[in-house]
């Protein structure tokens, strides 16, 4: 599943505020980046010890800039290590792999007005959305909340983009977004987009629902679920192989790496071609496919190896 990955060099690291760093990336093969749509994110593969760590980050720059992609990362002390690595180990000139952009936080192009809200580092996808809306000449406004003036990173970029349409809420000045008034009295066809801390997102969604906003007009940032997972052991009865599926390969890919011919078509859990018979599973089958019925899943006898895996233990397959 790595066909669309790109190798990039960290060209520039900027400290934007305490605990917030921006990384500018460019392709190592010298080619242009593709463009992307506002709200897109990429997944960075970070070399944490012997393990690769995959972290999603929103692209924040100009979606039409083909030379440089930018992400901003806040250091999270309790993180599993990705943001720590980026803050402590990453250096300019280092090379990493990234996956092509995915957008699960896209603008609705039929919207007649767009309200964008960012809390802290949540400004990153909002920035690319704002650029897109500005380019399209759409009706939009940005509400940006941050801890203290020095945390208002990208304020200048935003102001340049949409003068007069940026509203600031600085926590140290006791300013706060009142979602029930922000969302009240908006004309039909208005869309709301938010990226920020969990509590803030939940508060905005609740306010929207209380005002009767339908789900289709309330958008919050989503990342693609990571494709890999925990490593697990596999035995193939017919071909007599035994091996471990590493965290960054699918079961199907791991089987293929063993030189075993396994059927497949879509490689995305939809077609049903790759179905394999489970002989034994010590551990929990994690089904990610769109194909098996609830009964088939419950039987524990089938798995779609292109997307599904085992949590803990060993999986024995008839192959």
């Amino acid at each position: 599943m790595s066909s669309a990955s790109l190798n990039v060099e960290i060209r520039r690291i900027r400290d934007l505020a305490p605990g917030i760093r921006e990384f500018s990336l460019s392709r190592t093969d010298g080619d242009d980046f593709p463009v992307y749509s506002g709200g897109s994110h990429i997944v960075l593969s970070l070399p944490l010890g012997e393990r690769t760590h995959r972290n999603p980050y929103s692209l924040l720059g100009d979606p039409t800039d083909r030379k440089t992609w930018r992400v901003a990362v806040r250091k999270q002390e309790d993180s599993r290590g990705g943001s720590r690595w980026l803050h402590e180990q990453a250096r300019e000139g280092m090379r990493i792999d990234i996956a092509a952009p995915v957008n699960l936080f896209a603008l609705n192009r039929l919207g007649r007005r767009h309200i964008l809200v960012a809390g802290g580092i949540g400004i990153t996808p909002i920035l690319s959305q704002a650029r897109e809306l500005a380019r399209l000449g759409a009706d939009f406004e940005v509400h940006y909340a941050y801890r203290a003036p020095e945390y208002g990173v990208f304020v200048d970029e935003l102001e340049a983009l949409a003068p007069g349409r940026i509203h600031h809420y600085v926590q140290s000045r006791r300013e706060q977004i009142e979602f029930s008034s922000l969302l009240a009295g908006r004309p039909l066809g208005t869309h709301f987009y938010i990226c920020g801390p969990g509590g803030m997102v939940a508060a905005s969604m609740n306010a929207g629902k209380a005002l009767g906003w339908p789900e289709s007009h309330l958008h919050s940032e989503q990342f693609l679920a990571p494709t890999g997972g925990e490593p697990f052991d596999v035995k193939l009865t017919a071909s007599g192989k035994a091996f471990t599926v590493p965290s960054d390969l699918s079961l199907l890919e791991a089987i293929e790496q063993q030189g075993v011919d396994a059927p497949y078509l879509c490689r995305g859990g939809a077609c049903g071609q790759c179905e394999l018979e489970v002989v034994d599973a010590s551990g929990e089958l994690i089904h990610h496919d769109l194909y098996l019925s609830a009964e088939e899943r419950a039987s524990g006898k089938k798995i779609m190896p292109c997307v599904s895996r085992l949590k803990g233990g060993c999986l024995t397959l008839n192959l």
Binding site: S3, P34, S37, P63, N103, R109, L110, L265, C266, R267
Partner: protein, 347 residues
């Protein structure tokens, strides 16, 4: 690889369209087995074997020039075959970019694209087009970007907008369709648009396909084959012109089956579009007459079995009912009952 174009062949009136032996050999025969049923038969649209229809993202073949002329005739008669709703402009440019980049990369001797920032220079040698324009500025092209590029690319095209966890057919260039009307279907959701297809909904095919497609990623297009049958090598089998081609279905006789009845295969590919987050759906059609197909008896046998076991709902939906018996009778001459292993390849 050079392509020997057949610029003068026609898809109406005189119907001089024919496949060269090379064209027949690369025909994307769709039947792996002796029976056919809908499934989510999608797979990654990766580079296929050299010379095959899967070799490139957008396949250009010997019929290119003639097909583009036929499209121009259809559009001249009915500009409504190209529809694009106003919110699709970014997706139009996405499509133009994807196609120009693919064609100039895959067929450098036929198409060239040079960029100087937003100033783009496009040369299409087979059609004699040399155009300089500003990317993103529709006024610098003779017509809107989607229409511009799809007038120069074989196959029909739909662009779907993704919103509300659904895909909407909001743009299209449809001049060689299997009897569906873009003017009528434009703006429909994925399920509505596929509404008339029998049996597949009940099998959950569209539901799974939609979920799969919603997650389609940039740089990882997917493809599938679909098929129907057409009388005469006609591209414009639209509902709009049904009164023109409908009578042909009643014109099939045992003597003319081989020439008149065509298997029509669609190579459908889906591409995530970068700046709009939309999805380009290309529907590249291939036509082969029964005579042409029967140059490979394996195909004739297979088709005979598929048609004889085809559920009635499907035969009706595909419009085969009137001429299916005559066609089966003709194909039966080739079918000696030999057991055919799975696979679509010719002998």
């Amino acid at each position: 690889m050079t392509i020997a174009f057949k610029p003068d062949e026609t898809f109406r009136g005189t119907y001089t369209y024919r496949n060269s032996p090379k064209g027949i050999r690369r025909f994307p025969f769709p039947f792996h087995q002796d029976q056919y049923m809908y499934s989510v038969n999608m797979e990654p649209h990766t580079k296929g074997p050299e010379g095959s229809v899967f070799e490139n993202a957008f396949d250009i073949d010997e019929h290119y020039i003639a097909e583009m002329r036929d499209r121009a005739i259809t559009l001249e008669r009915d500009p409504g075959r190209c529809v694009s709703l106003p919110h699709m402009m970014d997706a139009e440019w996405d499509t133009l970019e994807l196609i120009m980049e693919s064609l100039s990369r895959d067929y450098p001797e036929l198409f060239t694209l040079t960029k100087d920032g937003d100033r783009w220079h496009w040369v299409n040698k087979p059609l004699g087009i040399d155009q300089t324009f500003t990317f993103g500025n529709a006024a610098t092209l003779p017509c809107p970007p989607f229409e511009y590029i799809t007038r120069q690319t074989q196959g029909d095209f739909v662009i779907m907008d993704q919103r509300d966890n659904n895909l909407f057919a909001d743009s299209g260039m449809i001049t060689s369709q299997a009897d569906w009307s873009l003017m009528f279907d434009a703006g429909m959701s994925f399920m509505e648009w596929h509404g008339p297809v029998p049996l597949a909904h009940e099998l959950g095919v569209f539901e799974r396909a939609l979920k799969y497609l919603l997650m389609l990623q940039q740089g990882r297009p997917v493809r599938r084959l679909n098929w129907t049958m057409t009388i005469n090598p006609r591209l414009d089998t639209s509902p709009e012109t049904y009164p023109e081609w409908g009578p042909d279905r009643a014109s099939v006789t045992p003597d003319n089956v081989g020439d008149k009845v065509h298997l029509r295969v669609e190579l459908q590919a889906l591409f995530r579009l970068p700046r709009s987050n939309g999805m380009l759906f290309s529907i590249r059609g291939y036509l082969a007459s029964m005579n042409e197909l029967a140059t490979y008896p394996r195909w004739a046998k297979r088709l005979h079995r598929v048609l004889s076991t085809l559920p009635n709902e499907l035969a009706e939906y595909k419009g085969l009912v009137r001429y299916k018996p005559t066609t089966l009778e003709w194909l039966s001459k080739f079918d000696d009952g030999e057991v055919l292993p799975a696979g679509t390849q010719p002998e």
